[in-house]
Structures are given as structure tokens and as C-alpha cells.
């Protein structure tokens, strides 16, 4: 894991002092609320329906036990004893007092954490593959590159007032576990035919009200030009991105309206110019970063396990992922208990996860964009002991990638932008499918719920997506099918007219029935949908 040096520590400490100063000037009336708002947003502080919400960055989703313990302590000290893990691999707290926010940031800085640029029209937290450094199928660990970009994007002097927020993901495997092509910039670390490591740049993807899949604008950027290329992409966007309409301000609209070819031409021209401007960190910096992410001291051990307990075997099958060392797996702790709030964890659960990481996973945890937690390096011989402890704490739900593993935004229960509630819907759907036992029969089925068109719940990328809308003052839900956030990225299509809350739950049941009766062989829901198309689903829903 990355460790701050004195420079990094000084940067976060300075930020805390700056925020305290800003808050003080707000209180003294030197700053108007209009002036203060973008400043507090760049420190992750939103004003929500009932209170301030504070979003803490977890860079590329990686944290250690000490940091997880600190997040738990913050939940107890400043919130109501819980936190919410987000689809950007961050955590947010829902009940923060403005006057305590500075102290909270200072507590974070003590464990090398921060809330820098977790909101605002600037470059947000860099996300990555939650199995980075552990997955069997990765080319290299993408996190040194993500860390390089984290530092470059933090307090960038030119890009703090972009047309709109800007999200970057970095992956290094063919399997995309980070929805890379649905980001403003998606970077895939690749190897050239000559064997050199470099980066493919995908620019102009996104969800929101106009979902788009990013086109590849450059197949190979050499490693020692990575930051310069990103800077060129940002400068062209900062200059030409639309500022007349908030809903057309994301880079995807610029790339779409300008055309990927023209956008690329301008980026390449700016890039050629910038190569002489000294914006690239020295290559030695990447060499410095790599060892932080080196393999822990794996030891050979048993490669198989006793599957005689069927509950344990089910959890292993569903919630573990192949590891590059054959005596280990990555184990997923589901934050989706049946009837629970997706992504929520209590302080007690966070403390336990931190302890388990220390005991079983070389003191490392990851936050998944699907709002679950990963212990990346668990010895196969330790799996049963780990599972037993998780079960006892209510964290052993064997439902990764099933219909119970729902992504949901906070929705109208918390969010000031929402049109409809997301959480109760997720709770009822998971209860319904768990009770009927159909979860198992359905296999991999990714269901995603957003409470408004901003699509924080990734509904466009759900095998089944649900979008909450406001229809003449009542909550209404649109159903969509066929999305994917993986390497086969696809945007879901709306089935037809919307439903009320009970109606949409029944509709989900109906589309799963269509799938089960049409399924051939080992097809997933998504495969069947792609083969038979929308018509049979529509017929079952509306005729």
C-alpha cells in the first residue's frame, strides 16, 4: 500500500488548515454562501436534505486496517454510528455538523486520508480495479499509475473550475471491474507488441442523463508521457467544454458534439506542445511508487478446501475470486444483507472488517464500486475461519453478483437531488428474491437502482436497471434491461412505461421469469436478453 512521505502529509495538513480558514471566513461573513459552496464541495461537504454529508476519498478503493478503524471511529464520533460505501469506492457520512467538519478532516489526515476533491467541478477520486494486485488476469498492478494520477490531479492549479465534475478510472486487466468506459477518462494499462508498458485512453464516457460509452482516442501512450497526455485531454476540455448548460457540461457531450476525431486532433496538438513544458513527473517517480504495491509475503499452503458445509461452499463459490497466488483468493464481504441498505456499514462492522484484514489479508481492504468490501489476499486455509467470523457478524451474505447484490444510490431518503427512494426498493427486492429462493436459480444478475436521472446508482449499466422519477408528485420507476459495466460495456434500454413501487418489484419478478423460461444452457440473464431481445420481456410486462 502507498505510504505518505513528508510531502504528502504536508499537503493534507495544509488542506485541513485551509478548510478551517475558509469555514472561519464563512462564519465571519467574509465569504458568501455562493462563494463558500464550491470550496466546501471540493472538501467533500454537501448540504443534503437533513444535514451536511461528508464524502471521504478512498483512493482507488484501497485502505489498510488502521484507516478502516479510523473510518469507524469517525462514524461514532461525528455521525450516527454508520457510514455508506459508494459507487466511487468512497465512504460518505450523512449527519455531519459544519462546525465539526474541520476536526473530522484533521482526524482523517492523521491516518493519511482526506476528502479532497470528492465533489465539485474538478478531478475526483481516481477509481480502479478492486482486485488490483491480486487478480490472476491482470497485466500489472494499476495502482501505481492511479497514485501518480492522484497526486497530479490533487490541487491542480488549472483544473479546479472545470465545466463539470471529472472522473478517471485506471485498470490493467482485460476484464473490466471498474466500469472504465463509463468514465470521463478511462485508462487501461496495456503492453505494446514490443513489450513496453503504456496506456490506452478512452475519453468521453459517462452515465448521468446522457449515458455514453467512451471511445478510445489513443491506443498507446508511453508510460513517461501519461500525465502529459491526461493534462492535454483536460486542457482541451477546460477550454471548450460547454458552460452554458449544466446538463451538457460533461466531457462526453464535448466529445460527442465536437466528434471524437476532432477532439483527438486537438488533444494531440496540445500534447505535442506540452511535451516540452515539463509537466511529466520523472519516470523515477513511477519506479518509486511501484514497490509500495509489491506483493505481500505469500506463503504456499493448501490449494483446496473442505466443502462439506454447504453454506460455506456456497459463500466460497459466490464471494471469492481467483488470486494470482494459487494458495490464496480474494474474498468479498457483502454489504448487501437481505433487507439491508446497500453499502451501509456500522462502526462495529468496520472495526471487525479492519481486524479481519489484519488477521487474514495482510492488513489490506478494498472498497468495490458495487458497494462491497474485499479482503484481497486470503489464504485458502484461512477461509473457513474468516467465513465463520463474518457469519457471526451478519456479514456473510453469499450473494455477490446475484440479484440481491443491488447497487443503490441514497435516493430520496437522504439526497436533495433525488426524485424517488432507492433504498426501500432495494430492500424489498432482496427480501422477495431471498424468500422465494430464486436468487440461486438466477445466477449472475446485476440490478442497479438510481433515485434520479443523475444515475449515481448506475442504472444504465445494470442487467436490470431501475430509475426513480417524479411523476406528477408521486414516485414512479422506469425499468430498463441489458446494460453492462464490464468489458462488454452496454447501455440498458427502457422497457416502456413506468411502474409504482409495488409494480416495479413485480416487473422485476416478471422479467426474471421470462429469462428463466427462455434460458439456454449456462446463459446469464444478460446473455439471454442479448439473444432474444426486448420483445418477449415487453410482452410479458405490458400485454
Amino acid at each position: 500500500m502507498y505510504k505518505y512521505d513528508n510531502y504528502d502529509q504536508q499537503m493534507v495538513d495544509t488542506r485541513v488548515a485551509e478548510f478551517r480558514d475558509q469555514a472561519q471566513r464563512r462564519l465571519e461573513g467574509k465569504l458568501s454562501e455562493d462563494q463558500f459552496k464550491p470550496l466546501r464541495l471540493m472538501n467533500g461537504l454537501y448540504l443534503q436534505l437533513h444535514a451536511y454529508m461528508l464524502r471521504v476519498a478512498i483512493p482507488y478503493g484501497t485502505l489498510n486496517g488502521t484507516q478502516m478503524h479510523a473510518l469507524a471511529d469517525i462514524a461514532d464520533k461525528y455521525d450516527r454510528g454508520y457510514g455508506h460505501f459508494t459507487t466511487r469506492q468512497n465512504i460518505q457520512y450523512n449527519w455531519i455538523k459544519l462546525e465539526e467538519a474541520g476536526d473530522l478532516l484533521a482526524d482523517l489526515a492523521k491516518v493519511e486520508m482526506h476528502a479532497i476533491q470528492t465533489s465539485g467541478n474538478c478531478i475526483r477520486n481516481i477509481s480502479s480495479d478492486h482486485f488490483a494486485g491480486a487478480a490472476r488476469d491482470e497485466l500489472v498492478d494499476p495502482r501505481p499509475y492511479a497514485e501518480l494520477l492522484r497526486q497530479w490531479s490533487s490541487f491542480h492549479p488549472e483544473f479546479m473550475y472545470l465545466p463539470r465534475k471529472f472522473k478517471i478510472a485506471v485498470i490493467a486487466a482485460e476484464t473490466d471491474r471498474a466500469a472504465m468506459k463509463l468514465h470521463d477518462i478511462g485508462i487501461q494499462i496495456v503492453k505494446s507488441d514490443a513489450g513496453d508498458i503504456g496506456a490506452s485512453f478512452y475519453v468521453g464516457g459517462g452515465m448521468g442523463r446522457t449515458p455514453m460509452i467512451a471511445p478510445c482516442i489513443r491506443e498507446f501512450v508511453p508510460l513517461d508521457q501519461l500525465v502529459t497526455y491526461a493534462e492535454a485531454c483536460l486542457r482541451v476540455y477546460n477550454r471548450h467544454g460547454r458552460r452554458d448548460n449544466k446538463y451538457k457540461a460533461r466531457i462526453k457531450i464535448l466529445v460527442h458534439e465536437m466528434g471524437a476525431e476532432e477532439y483527438t486532433r486537438q488533444v494531440e496538438a496540445e500534447f505535442a506542445h506540452m511535451l516540452d513544458q515539463g509537466v511529466e513527473p520523472p519516470l523515477a517517480e513511477i519506479e518509486r511508487l511501484r514497490p509500495f504495491f509489491a506483493d505481500p509475503a505469500f506463503v504456499d499452503g493448501p490449494k483446496t478446501l473442505d466443502r462439506s458445509d454447504p453454506d460455506f461452499a456456497l459463500w466460497v463459490d459466490r464471494n471469492t475470486n481467483a488470486h494470482k497466488h494459487d494458495s490464496y483468493v480474494s474474498a468479498v464481504i457483502s454489504l448487501k444483507p437481505v433487507g439491508g441498505i446497500p453499502g451501509d456499514a456500522t462502526a462495529e462492522q468496520m472495526h471487525l472488517m479492519a481486524d479481519l484484514a489484519r488477521e487474514y489479508s495482510f492488513d489490506e481492504l478494498r472498497v468495490m464500486h458495487t458497494q462491497n468490501i474485499v479482503l484481497p489476499h486470503v489464504a485458502i486455509s484461512d477461509l473457513h475461519a474468516l467465513w465463520t467470523k463474518l457469519e457471526a457478524a451478519g456479514l456473510g451474505s453469499p450473494n455477490l453478483d446475484t440479484i440481491e447484490d443491488i447497487i443503490a444510490c441514497p435516493g430520496l431518503d437522504y439526497c436533495s437531488l433525488a426524485n424517488a427512494r432507492s433504498i426501500p426498493l432495494a430492500q424489498k427486492i432482496s427480501e422477495r428474491f431471498a424468500a422465494s429462493g430464486k436468487t440461486k436459480e438466477l445466477g449472475q444478475l446485476k440490478l442497479k437502482i438510481s433515485g434520479c436521472i443523475n444515475a449515481c446508482g448506475h442504472h444504465h449499466a445494470g442487467h436490470i436497471g431501475i430509475l426513480g422519477v417524479d411523476k406528477k408528485g408521486t414516485e414512479n420507476y422506469q425499468l430498463s434491461l441489458g446494460g453492462s459495466e464490464a468489458e462488454d460495456t452496454a447501455l440498458a434500454k427502457i422497457t416502456g412505461r413506468g411502474f409504482d413501487e409495488d409494480g416495479v418489484i413485480n416487473a422485476v419478478e416478471t422479467v426474471t421469469d421470462v429469462y428463466l423460461s427462455a434460458r439456454e444452457g449456462e446463459e446469464r440473464f444478460l446473455d439471454t436478453y442479448r439473444r432474444i431481445g426486448m420483445a418477449p420481456f415487453k410482452e410479458a410486462l405490458y400485454d
Binding site: 467541478n121 486542457r235 506540452m274
Partner: protein, 142 residues
């Protein structure tokens, strides 16, 4: 116009020449010009030799195009005064300075103490920009 300049980090005397609109700059012999967020600063490159002052207007502080305009002008070799005017406040000063602005003419006069704190807030920086500061990544490998 120079009356509004609250901070200036230059030793030469401020220009007292009239300030041309961006659209007239190419057809005139103006030595001072004012650009708006939507103007393409790169179009000034042919006239840079005669310009001693470029004013970059910020009608609202949240429109950050002027930061890129400033950097492009500095990267093209402009050494004259680069003045940020308009909705410029304490919390933008540090980054503006880094992007090459060396004079500030805010609509609303700033508290001198707050501004001086802001100018010197960050001892080190993560990026290269238009000033001569070394990025942290370079300092680590000196």
C-alpha cells in the same frame, strides 16, 4: 484601469495604454488587450511581441477557462503583465499565480491579510505550472 489593481508582482511600470477588445487586437497596434472566457487565447500568439498587458476577465469565478488561457500565453513565451480581473477572490489567488497571473484587479477589494495567507498557503506543489516551482515528484528525485 490600473487603479483597480490590488496586487502586482512585477518591477516594471504598469501599462497606461488603452486596453483593446480581443476582437480588435489583431487589426490594431494595441499593446494591451482584454480577453473573455470564450476567447481563444491562442489567437493572440501573432501579436504577443507587442503586447505588454493581457487582462483575463473572470465574469464568475466558477468559469475556469481563464486559467488555461493564462498558461497557454505563458507557455507561448508571453512575459508581459497577465492580469486577472473580475470575480477574483482570495481562494483563487494561489492557483492563478501558479498559472501565470502576476497582477490582480478584483471587483471587490480583498482583505490584505487573507490574501497574503492565500498567496503563501502551499509550500510545495504536485504539478508543474507556469511558475518556476519544482513539482514534488521532482524534489523527491533530486
Amino acid at each position: 484601469m490600473t487603479d483597480n489593481v490590488q496586487f502586482r508582482f512585477r518591477d516594471d511600470n504598469p501599462s497606461s495604454d488603452p486596453v483593446a477588445e480581443f476582437s480588435q487586437c489583431a487589426q490594431s497596434n494595441a499593446t494591451a488587450v482584454r480577453i473573455e472566457p470564450g476567447d481563444d487565447a491562442l489567437e493572440l500568439l501573432p501579436c504577443l511581441d507587442r503586447l505588454t498587458l493581457v487582462e483575463v476577465n473572470f465574469p464568475v469565478f466558477g468559469d475556469g477557462r481563464g486559467y488555461s488561457s493564462a498558461r497557454s500565453l505563458r507557455e507561448a513565451g508571453f512575459t508581459g503583465e497577465l492580469r486577472a480581473v473580475g470575480d477574483v477572490a482570495v481562494d483563487q489567488l494561489f492557483n492563478m499565480r501558479r498559472c501565470g497571473f502576476d497582477a490582480f484587479a478584483p471587483d471587490v477589494t480583498m482583505d490584505e491579510g487573507d490574501a497574503n495567507t492565500a498567496f503563501s498557503r502551499w509550500e510545495e506543489v504536485y504539478q508543474a505550472a507556469a511558475d518556476d516551482r519544482q513539482m514534488i515528484a521532482n524534489l523527491r528525485h533530486e
